[in-house]
C-alpha cells in the first residue's frame, strides 16, 4: 500500500498542517525564508504529524488545536536534521542540497535554532504543562542520543543494547511523543494514552532499524544520498553490529576511519552487507518491535482508527525505501 493511500483520510488535515508549517517558518530574513521553504518543500513522510492526528482520533479531535501539536513535532524533527547535517558534514538529504551545503554551517545553526523556537511558539498555544514536559524531555534525550552516537562512532565492538539505547533516543522517543502528545491534546484516557505512547515507541524502534537496513540495501538514488552513509559517518548500526566479527567489515571500518575507502570499495562493502545474514537478522528484530506495536493496538478500545494504526505500522515495517 502506498503512503498516500494510508494518509488519504487525513488529506485535508495534512494540508492544514502543511500550510501551518509554512506559516510557522515565516521570517523577516529572506535567507531564513528560503532555507525554510527549501526544507518544507523537501517533504518527508510527515509521520510525526500523522501519528499525532491518528492518536488524537481516540479522543476529541479538533484540527485547529492539534495542528499546534503536529507542527511543532515536525519542526523539531526538521531542526534536528538541519543541525545533524552540520555534524555529519552532509551535503545532500532527500536528493536536495542541505542548508549547510547551500549556505554554510553557521546559517544552518541559526536556521535550526530559529525552527526550534518556532516549534515552541506554536506549541505554546496549548497550555497543558504535561505536553510541554513530554516535548522538552524528548528534546533533551534527542541530544543525549546524539552525544552517545558521537561517542560510539567507529566503535565496532559495541553491543546491541547500546544500539537500542541510542536509537530509542535518536528516533523512537520523538515518534512515541507524537503519539502521546496527540492523545493528551485530545483528552484520551490515561490508560489508552499509555498504549498509544508505547505503540509509538515500538513503531519508532522498528522504523529506525528499517532505516538503518535501507541505508545499505537501497540505492543512492532512492536514498537521495550515498548508500552506506551511516557507516561512512562512523555510525555503527544494527546490520554492522551483526557483522562485527567479520574481518572484512573490520577492514572497511578502518579504511573509512582513515579516509581511505574508494568508491569501488564502497560498492564492495555494500555488496558484502547486502549479501550477509545481518540484513535478515536486523529485519527480524524490526519485525519483533512491529509485533509489539501491533499488540499495543489490540489493547485499545474498538475504533476505526485501530486498523489505520495497524496499516501505518505495517507500512513502516515493510517499506523498501
Amino acid at each position: 500500500m502506498k503512503l498516500a493511500l494510508l494518509y488519504a483520510e487525513f488529506k485535508s488535515d495534512i494540508d492544514v498542517i502543511e500550510k501551518e508549517l509554512v506559516q510557522a517558518l515565516n521570517s523577516s530574513s529572506h535567507m531564513l525564508n528560503d532555507a525554510s521553504v527549501h526544507l518544507v518543500q523537501a517533504g518527508g513522510k510527515r509521520i510525526r504529524p500523522v501519528f499525532v492526528l491518528l492518536c488524537a482520533k481516540f479522543g476529541q479531535y479538533d484540527i485547529e488545536r492539534l495542528k499546534h501539536v503536529a507542527v511543532p513535532l515536525e519542526l523539531v524533527h526538521m531542526a534536528s536534521l538541519v543541525h545533524d547535517d552540520v555534524i555529519d558534514d552532509s551535503n545532500m538529504r532527500r536528493g536536495q542540497h542541505t542548508v549547510k551545503a547551500q549556505w554554510n554551517n553557521r546559517v544552518a545553526m541559526y536556521t535550526g535554532d530559529f525552527i526550534f523556537a518556532r516549534a515552541l511558539q506554536s506549541l505554546a498555544h496549548i497550555e497543558q504543562p504535561i505536553i510541554h514536559q513530554v516535548l522538552a524531555h524528548t528534546m533533551v534525550e534527542l541530544c543525549n542520543g546524539e552525544v552517545i552516537q558521537i561517542e560510539d562512532k567507529f566503535q565496532l565492538n559495541q553491543n546491541i543494547k547500546t544500539y537500542f539505547r541510542r536509537i530509542k533516543r535518536k528516533t523512537a522517543l520523538l515518534i512515541e511523543s507524537s503519539c502521546y502528545m496527540g492523545a493528551l491534546a485530545a483528552g484520551v484516557s490515561q490508560k489508552d494514552a499509555m498504549h498509544l505512547k508505547r505503540f509509538g515507541y515500538f513503531v519508532g524502534m522498528s522504523y529506525q532499524i528499517i532505516d538503518d537496513i535501507l541505508d545499505f540495501t537501497a540505492t543512492d538514488k532512492e536514498l537521495g544520498k550515498p548508500a552506506g552513509s551511516d557507516l561512512l559517518n562512523g555510525n555503527i548500526t544494527l546490520p554492522v553490529i551483526y557483522m562485527q566479527n567479520d574481518p572484512r567489515i573490520q577492514a572497511y571500518v578502518e579504511q573509512i576511519q582513515t579516509g581511505q575507502l574508494t568508491e569501488q570499495e564502497r560498492q564492495h562493502m555494500l555488496t558484502l552487507v547486502r549479501n550477509s545474514e545481518a540484513i535478515a537478522k536486523a529485519s527480524a528484530i524490526s519485525e519483533r518491535y512491529l509485533q509489539k506495536a501491533l499488540h499495543e493496538i489490540d489493547q485499545l478500545p474498538k475504533h476505526p482508527m485501530r486498523k489505520k494504526l495497524r496499516d501505518i505500522a505495517r507500512f513502516i515495517g515493510k517499506r523498501d525505501f
Binding site: S29, V86, D89, R106, D113, F114, L120, P129, C143, V147
Partner: protein, 254 residues
C-alpha cells in the same frame, strides 16, 4: 544591596545556571559553557533595585541566561566544511542547553516565558542571518543587530515581568559593552564575525568609536534621570566607563 552582595548574587546565579545545564559528557569535550557576566548583571538588575522578586523571577532569569549561552555555543561553529568532533559536540551542547531551558519552564508551566524566550531566539537568529545576507547597510542597522544579539533575551524577560523601566538602560549598556569589547578585540585581530562584516560593509572604526562615545553619554544621562537607587546608579555608571570593565567574552572564530 552593596557591591559585595551584588557580586555574591551573580555568583549564586552562575552556579545555578551551571547546575541546570550540567552534562558530564559535554563538559569533557567542551568545558564549562561561557556565561556573559554583563548579561547576568542586567538580568538581575530589577532584583538589585529591590523590585518584588520571587523564585519564579529567579528561575525565569536563569532560563533567559541559558538561552543566551545556548546560542553563543552555536556561534563557535566554523562557517565552512566538516567540523571536528569537539565542534560536533558544541552543536549538541547548544541544543542540549535549549532543551534544558525549555524543560525548566515546562515543569513550571510558565507559558508566557516560553513565548517570550522563543521570540528572543527568533529575533536573534533573524538578525544573525541578516549579517550574512547583506540586508544591513547603515551603521544604525548594524548596531541594532548587535544590540538584539546581546540583549533580546534580557528585553523579553523584562517585558514578561513588567520590568520595562530597565529596558533601555540594559539594551544600550549591553550594546555599549559589546561594541567596546569588539573594538578592543579588533586591535588584536580577534573581533567577531559581526564586526568583521560591519567593516567589510564600509562601516569604519572611527565611526564606531564615535557611536560608542555618544552611546556612553546617552547611557550616563539615562542612568542619572532614572529612578534607580543611588548606589546602583553608581555601579551602572562604573560598568560602562571605559577601561574599568572586563571584556565581555567574545565568541571568536574557531
Amino acid at each position: 544591596m552593596n557591591e559585595t552582595s551584588i557580586q555574591q548574587a551573580i555568583d549564586k546565579f552562575k552556579q545555578t545556571i551551571y547546575s541546570y545545564i550540567h552534562h558530564p559528557s559535554l563538559l569533557s569535550y567542551t568545558g564549562k559553557p561561557v556565561l556573559n557576566e554583563n548579561q547576568l548583571f542586567y538580568l538581575l538588575l530589577p532584583f538589585f533595585n529591590e523590585e518584588q522578586w520571587t523564585e519564579e523571577h529567579f528561575e525565569s532569569a536563569v532560563t533567559a541566561a541559558i538561552v543566551s549561552t545556548a546560542l553563543y555555543e552555536h556561534e563557535k561553529i566554523s562557517e565552512q566544511g566538516g567540523i571536528s568532533i569537539t565542534q560536533q559536540v558544541v552543536v549538541l551542547a547548544g541544543d542540549f542547553y535549549s532543551g534544558r531551558y525549555y524543560e525548566v519552564l515546562a515543569h513550571q508551566g510558565n507559558f508566557s516565558m516560553i513565548r517570550a524566550l522563543s521570540e528572543a531566539i527568533v529575533k536573534r537568529c533573524e538578525q544573525q542571518i541578516q549579517v550574512y545576507e547583506g540586508q544591513l547597510t547603515t551603521c544604525n542597522e548594524w548596531l541594532h543587530a548587535m544590540m538584539t544579539v546581546e540583549s533580546e533575551h534580557v528585553t523579553q524577560f523584562y517585558n514578561n515581568y513588567q520590568f520595562t523601566q530597565y529596558r533601555e538602560i540594559a539594551e544600550q549598556s549591553l550594546l555599549y559593552l559589546r561594541l567596546q569589547s569588539e573594538l578592543r578585540a579588533h586591535e588584536t585581530n580577534e573581533a567577531s564575525l559581526l564586526l568583521m562584516r560591519m567593516l567589510e560593509q564600509g562601516i569604519t572604526i572611527a565611526a564606531l568609536e564615535q557611536q560608542l562615545q555618544e552611546l556612553g553619554n546617552r547611557i550616563a544621562t539615562d542612568i542619572a534621570s532614572s529612578s534607580i537607587r543611588p548606589m546602583l546608579k553608581k555601579l551602572l555608571a562604573a560598568r560602562i566607563e571605559q577601561n574599568k570593565v572586563a571584556l565581555t567574552p567574545l565568541m571568536k572564530e574557531v
